[in-house]
Structures are given as structure tokens and as C-alpha cells.
């Protein structure tokens, strides 16, 4: 029976651990709100990985790793459309690239896919036991232990961030007296992307949606901005509180004020 579930109950790290311990062979499919990923394993070792619309064929991976030029990439793509990765690999190691270049590039890419999956905290997964591995692709054999350790660290980070930012339904606003001028800060690309949406009207959930970040990524950025004192968490719409249902036993404004004043008088008299 296929192993199925939700990442909220069983994390990617736990899945890797299970695959590693049981020395499983098969394909793990993970589907989040925005994209899909699949990872192939052979006897408990990472064999292949691909995510979303990213091209994971050998030519694309080599281009991404600067092992071939843009022109070579174009030529190989045009002429090699029908050549399988394994055949292409054999052609390339015949004088142009080494086997290490090819396997190293693939390993680097597959590991980057798995690292990206560590940031997925929700989504459905399914493990297809003994599913046929892609025969036209070059498979690697990478031990999972190091990735599992890395993933465990990420889980601890996730738990910490959840404690720091328990709800994404709050908004961020710039601090009244930020310690530093924004222009002098060394922010990364993700932080700048979030900064451009900071407004008490936008909840962090909305910002995450607009910037295509998942819950971990938006929390990570918000936390670093909060730590630096650049932003504060506020209620959506600004700091003004709002009336909730049944806050007062009466809906008449004057009666509500009178009620609060009576409470004040009573407490003063205690």
C-alpha cells in the first residue's frame, strides 16, 4: 500500500528518514499549493529529484552549473532533443566533461531540490513503493544522512519561528523609529521583496501569497526584519482595535460608554 499523507503530520525529513532506514526504492511525490515535486530513491539513497516546471534534464543542469555555455546549451537542446541523458552523458565524457563534472552537477541540483522541499510545511505526499525509476535519466546514489540532519535543523527553526510568529494573519508595519535607514541595510532579495509589500493593510499571509513564499519562508523573512527592529507586527488595518461580537451586552453607543464608566467608578471604589 502506498505511503500517503500530509506534510503537516509527517515532514519531509521524517519521510527521508523512513526511506533511509527502510532502504526503500520508489518515488516520492509531493504536491504543495504552488508546485509539485518528485524524488526517486534507490535502496534508501537519493537517485533523482525534480521540482515544478524547472527543467531537470542533464543539459539544463549542466547549464545551471556553468559547465556548458549558453551557446552550447542552445545547440545541445536543439540537436539533442531526442538524445537521452545517459547517451548525452557518454558523449560529453568523451573528451569534454569528466564523469565527476556530470555526477557532481546532478547531485548538487538534486540536493537543492530536497533543500527546497524542507521549506514545505504543508502539502500532500505519496510514496510509490518500487515505482519504476526514470530509465532515460542519469541516477545518482547519495546517502541521505546528511540531508536528514540538515532537515532536522530546519524543523527546529520552523518550531522556533512558529513560536515567534504564531499567526500569519497579522500585518507588518515599519517601526516608528527604525534603528537604521533602509537604504543602508544589507537585505537579501527575499527581504526586499517582502519590504515592498509591508503595509498594515497586508497580512503576512497575503504577502506570502503575493511573493509566492511558503509559510516558513515568509516567517523567516518577517523574523529577521522584526529582530532588526525594522518592522513591528500589528493587526491588519492598523493598530486600531475593533469591536467583536458580544463584547458589550448592548449595541447602543451611549450605553456602552456608560457601562465602561460604571466599571471605572466601581473599580476605583474597591
Amino acid at each position: 500500500m502506498a505511503l500517503k499523507g500530509n506534510l503537516q503530520d509527517f515532514t519531509v525529513t521524517q519521510l527521508l528518514n523512513l526511506v533511509n532506514l527502510a532502504k526503500k526504492t520508489g518515488i516520492l511525490l509531493i504536491e504543495s499549493q504552488h508546485e509539485q515535486a518528485w524524488i526517486a530513491f534507490r535502496e534508501g539513497k537519493l537517485a533523482y529529484a525534480s521540482i515544478g516546471a524547472e527543467e531537470a534534464d542533464l543539459v539544463s543542469v549542466l547549464k545551471r552549473n556553468n559547465k556548458i555555455s549558453q551557446r552550447q546549451y542552445r545547440v545541445l537542446k536543439e540537436r539533442g532533443g531526442t538524445i537521452k541523458d545517459k547517451e548525452l552523458g557518454l558523449l560529453l565524457i568523451n573528451g569534454y566533461l569528466t564523469q565527476d563534472d556530470i555526477l557532481g552537477s546532478l547531485q548538487q541540483y538534486f540536493v537543492s531540490v530536497v533543500r527546497k522541499l524542507f521549506t514545505w510545511v504543508e502539502g500532500m505526499f505519496q510514496f510509490k513503493d518500487n515505482a519504476k525509476l526514470p530509465g532515460d535519466r542519469i541516477l545518482i546514489r547519495l546517502d541521505l544522512q546528511n540531508l536528514i540532519i540538515e532537515g532536522s535543523r530546519q524543523i527546529r527553526e520552523w518550531e522556533h519561528l512558529q513560536e515567534e510568529i504564531p499567526s500569519l494573519d497579522l500585518a507588518l508595519k515599519f517601526s516608528d523609529h527604525p534603528g537604521a535607514n533602509l537604504r543602508n541595510l544589507n537585505l537579501n532579495v527575499e527581504e526586499w521583496r517582502v519590504i515592498s509589500y509591508i503595509n498594515p493593510k497586508n497580512s503576512m499571509r497575503q504577502i506570502a501569497h503575493a511573493t509566492k513564499m511558503n509559510e516558513l519562508e515568509i516567517r523567516r523573512v518577517a523574523f529577521s526584519l522584526l529582530q532588526a527592529g525594522i518592522v513591528q507586527m500589528v493587526r491588519v488595518g492598523g493598530a486600531a482595535p475593533k469591536m467583536t461580537v458580544r463584547m458589550f451586552p448592548t449595541s447602543n453607543r451611549e450605553e456602552q460608554k456608560s457601562l465602561v464608566n460604571r466599571l471605572i467608578d466601581r473599580i476605583r471604589s474597591i
Binding site: 513560536e163 515567534e164 510568529i165 504564531p166 499567526s167 494573519d169 497579522l170 516608528d176 522584526l226 513591528q232 507586527m233 500589528v234 493587526r235 493598530a239 486600531a240 482595535p241 475593533k242 469591536m243 467583536t244 461580537v245 458580544r246 463584547m247 458589550f248 451586552p249 448592548t250 453607543r253 456602552q256 460608554k257 457601562l259 465602561v260 464608566n261 460604571r262 466599571l263 471605572i264 467608578d265 466601581r266 473599580i267 476605583r268 474597591i270
Partner: protein
């Protein structure tokens, strides 16, 4: 009889039960249980569901004070208790900075549950190792427009001040048209 409620929340052992006990006209209805967990045995008993106190204003009106359980494993009670509250007080033990992070988590959670006025009470200010209130504001990252008040939960006058300041805030928000 009309009733309104204020919720007193905060981390474990912040002084919520004592706060309510100090001003309640009835014996506080408490759901305290002996503590079984060794790391939390800095006091004999803790609230597991809620504390309940009452201040009767007149024949028509009473203020109910609800204290929330401070331990994380009872946090399912928070949302229930926060429903329909007039405002809330976050009690923080000024002598235990290790609880500040938890206090902030609780504060943010309550803000998300019910966007009503609130303030922070820096409790145990009579202890010599209590943090300064303004240092606590920075550590807890409390906005300047939110009140953070010194408090001694066993002292009626400071408890009254905390309650009054919350009511003044509620009144001010009403006058400003925010409520």
C-alpha cells in the same frame, strides 16, 4: 443582569490567579491542579482550565474576570475564553526573562483571536531582580502606544490601576470611534 468580561492571560506562574484573587469579591473559582511535571514545579499548583472572579458593579452589571491557563498544553482554552471579551491583560513575570518569549507568543495569539484593547502588566515588580518596565517593553517588543504597567498581583492598588488603565484605553478607543 448584564455582564462583561476581561481576560487575564500570560505565561505559567506569571501571577494571573493572584491578580484575580486580589480584586474579586467572590472566592476565585479556580481549576488548579497539583503540578506533576518536574521542570514546572516552581509552585505547588497551576490553573488547568480557567480562573473565574467577579466584581459586581450594581444590580444590572457585573464584570467577570477570567484567568487563562498558562501552560502551553492547555492553550486550547484560550480561544474559548477570549470570545466576547472587552479587553485583555497580559501578565508577565518581571523576574523571569526566560518567559518573555512565551509572553509575546501568548500576546500575539490573543491579538489574532480578538482585536480588542489590551495592556501588559509587568508583575512581581516588588522583587529586587525585577526587570525595569521600559526594558521589558523593549524585550517584549511592545509598541509605544500599548501600555505596559508595573504590577504586584498581591497589592490591590496596583491591580486596580491595571484594570482601570485597561478601561481607560477601552473608553479612549470608543471616544476615538475605533470601537
Amino acid at each position: 443582569m448584564q455582564t462583561v468580561k476581561i481576560v487575564v492571560t500570560g505565561p505559567f506562574n506569571a501571577g494571573k490567579t493572584e491578580f484575580i484573587r486580589t480584586v474579586s469579591e467572590i472566592d476565585v473559582v479556580s481549576t488548579e491542579r497539583r503540578i506533576s511535571s518536574e521542570p514546572e514545579r516552581i509552585k505547588e499548583a497551576t490553573t488547568v482550565a480557567m480562573d473565574f472572579g467577579r466584581i459586581t458593579v450594581d444590580d444590572d452589571l457585573a464584570l467577570y474576570l477570567f484567568g487563562t491557563p498558562g501552560q502551553k498544553r492547555f492553550d486550547f482554552m484560550w480561544e474559548i475564553l477570549s470570545e466576547g471579551m472587552l479587553g485583555f491583560i497580559v501578565m508577565v513575570d518581571s523576574t523571569r526573562p526566560e518567559t518573555f518569549r512565551e509572553a509575546r507568543r501568548i500576546l500575539e495569539t490573543f491579538r489574532a483571536y480578538a482585536p480588542t484593547p489590551y495592556l501588559v502588566a509587568a508583575n512581581k515588580q516588588d522583587y529586587k531582580d525585577a526587570w525595569e518596565v521600559e526594558d521589558m517593553r523593549l524585550a517584549l517588543r511592545i509598541d509605544n502606544n500599548i501600555k505596559i504597567l508595573p504590577c504586584v498581583a498581591l497589592d490591590k492598588e496596583t491591580v486596580k490601576t491595571v484594570l482601570l488603565e485597561l478601561l481607560y484605553t477601552i473608553l479612549a478607543e470608543m471616544e476615538a470611534g475605533n470601537l
